[in-house]
Symmetry: C2
């Protein structure tokens, strides 16, 4: 399995500051020492506007901030990001654009009457999706089998500490960027930030996530222009409806060689037959909930 060599960003389970050794006791009353993932608040600002405090493991903060703002529709595709300044001591990151964004104008108007305008913003995102149709990409089952095997076996914080989510941007059977975070949406947003920063199109990509296929996950994937979303976890009804609406192929409960496809199944190519291969115990995910 040499493919991982060409993965551009891989998890760094041994990086300083991402995990901590914690003492405790187990069901036998025996002393244990566990490797536990870190979690820190990061407050994201867009120009002079405080937007959100996210809980994050703390790596790739610049990608997280830019990806979050893009996926929330607060930073449009044509807006120029002038700078992203991370202040580790203040646990703050400021994304600056060349002119006030459309979001700030909207927010300013809205806060005069009712505050945070989350509902309005949410309505706007749903409206954006209405005009969107993703590329009609075919997906081979051989890619899916190869991807899940590579992703499960790649060294990661999940394998060394657990209690963390992962999102992997892939092309055909190749993982390209594998991000992890305590928040499942953060991992997706970091991928989005990487894509925006490197001007990478989503059109020929597959997004793999350990998180559930909820409306929010489908919306993010669609806004990133990625036509295929694969997860180890299950679905919500609205996630499936939105996927149908934008032409996204939605594959869930992908474990070993088993999966369920609830949207876009006409784009699946069964080029590798099911051989009943199961995941080995060691790589089975069960704790990052």
């Amino acid at each position: 399995m040499t493919r991982n060599n060409s993965c551009l960003i891989t998890p760094q389970p041994n990086a300083l500051g991402l995990t901590k050794r914690v003492q405790g006791i187990d069901h036998l009353g025996a002393d244990i020492t566990l490797n536990v993932v870190e979690e820190r608040p990061l407050t994201i600002w867009l120009n002079g506007q405080e937007i959100v405090t996210a809980m994050t493991i703390g790596d790739y903060s610049e990608y997280l901030a830019v990806g979050f703002l893009s996926n929330q529709g607060m930073l449009a595709k044509d807006e120029t990001v002038l700078s992203v300044s991370f202040e580790p001591e203040l646990q703050t990151i400021v994304v600056r654009t060349d002119k006030p964004t459309n979001y700030e104008t909207k927010l300013q108007k809205k806060t005069q009457t009712s505050g945070c305008a989350v509902g309005t913003l949410f309505g706007d995102i749903i409206e954006t999706l209405e005009g969107l149709t993703l590329p009609n990409s075919k997906v081979s089952t051989s890619w899916l089998y190869s991807l899940t095997k590579q992703i499960n076996q790649m060294p990661s914080l999940y394998l060394s500490a657990g209690a963390i989510h992962g999102t992997v941007l892939c092309k055909e059977n190749q993982p390209l960027v594998y991000m992890e975070d305590v928040g499942r949406h953060n991992a997706v947003d970091k991928v989005a930030g990487w894509m925006r920063g490197n001007q990478i199109s989503g059109a020929d990509k597959i997004m793999y996530t350990t998180g559930r296929l909820t409306s929010e996950m489908v919306i993010k994937c669609a806004l990133m222009g990625i036509p295929v979303l694969v997860s180890r976890s299950g679905f919500t009804a609205w996630g499936v409806e939105l996927a149908d609406q934008v032409g996204l192929t939605l594959i869930g409960r992908m474990r070993g060689q088993r999966f369920q496809c609830l949207a876009g199944s006409e784009r699946l190519i069964y080029d590798r037959s099911f051989e009943g291969e199961e995941e080995d115990q060691k790589h089975r995910r069960k704790s990052a909930q």
Copy 2:
């Protein structure tokens, strides 16, 4: 196992509107029909202030709204809730108090300079925790074993549809209120809303959750006054630190008779020995991530 008869609120996996039948295709190319959980936006208002749009399965909206506002510190313990009005068609719920809340005053001041004030609010919650010490309650391992077995086997949306989180308020070895939701925090907030509405103290309770033991989960549990938090899932380092700080007993990776305790282990009573009992395959949770 007749104990569940005295559980006050149990999941209603067959209730109308909580799941939907969805058609799809599996790894063999065979047609499948799955039971999938619903997910709907619910915008929560506090008096004249729009607060958040939560994605929820749609049951117990009143408890969700009141519990969310309480757990966010937006609705203090001494504030009187006059009414909670749910407008299903507008997917909106309004919590009204007898006078403007402290939160609204603070928000109004803050929005004049920088907007949503999420960071400020977050700082306030951390400050509240600094003055808090939970009751020094003992926890028997026999309770833990009994609770996890009852909870795993109780009919639930998780068992019938998957992709959903659960939170159960318990007393000793008795589950009292079992809430489920697509968002793991929503399930906790519904329990908090139920406790507030029924003036139930957390002091002699145990909170069981399927979600990870992150800072946010520990903060909610502490604000609810519950001294014991148990999860099937793992920990974050900050979750453990906060639990230590407020005197919360934190038990994670509770599966079958196995668990890990990373805070408050001196309060554990080993009154039932480990017999190596494992969860049966059918009740193992693995998909609500």
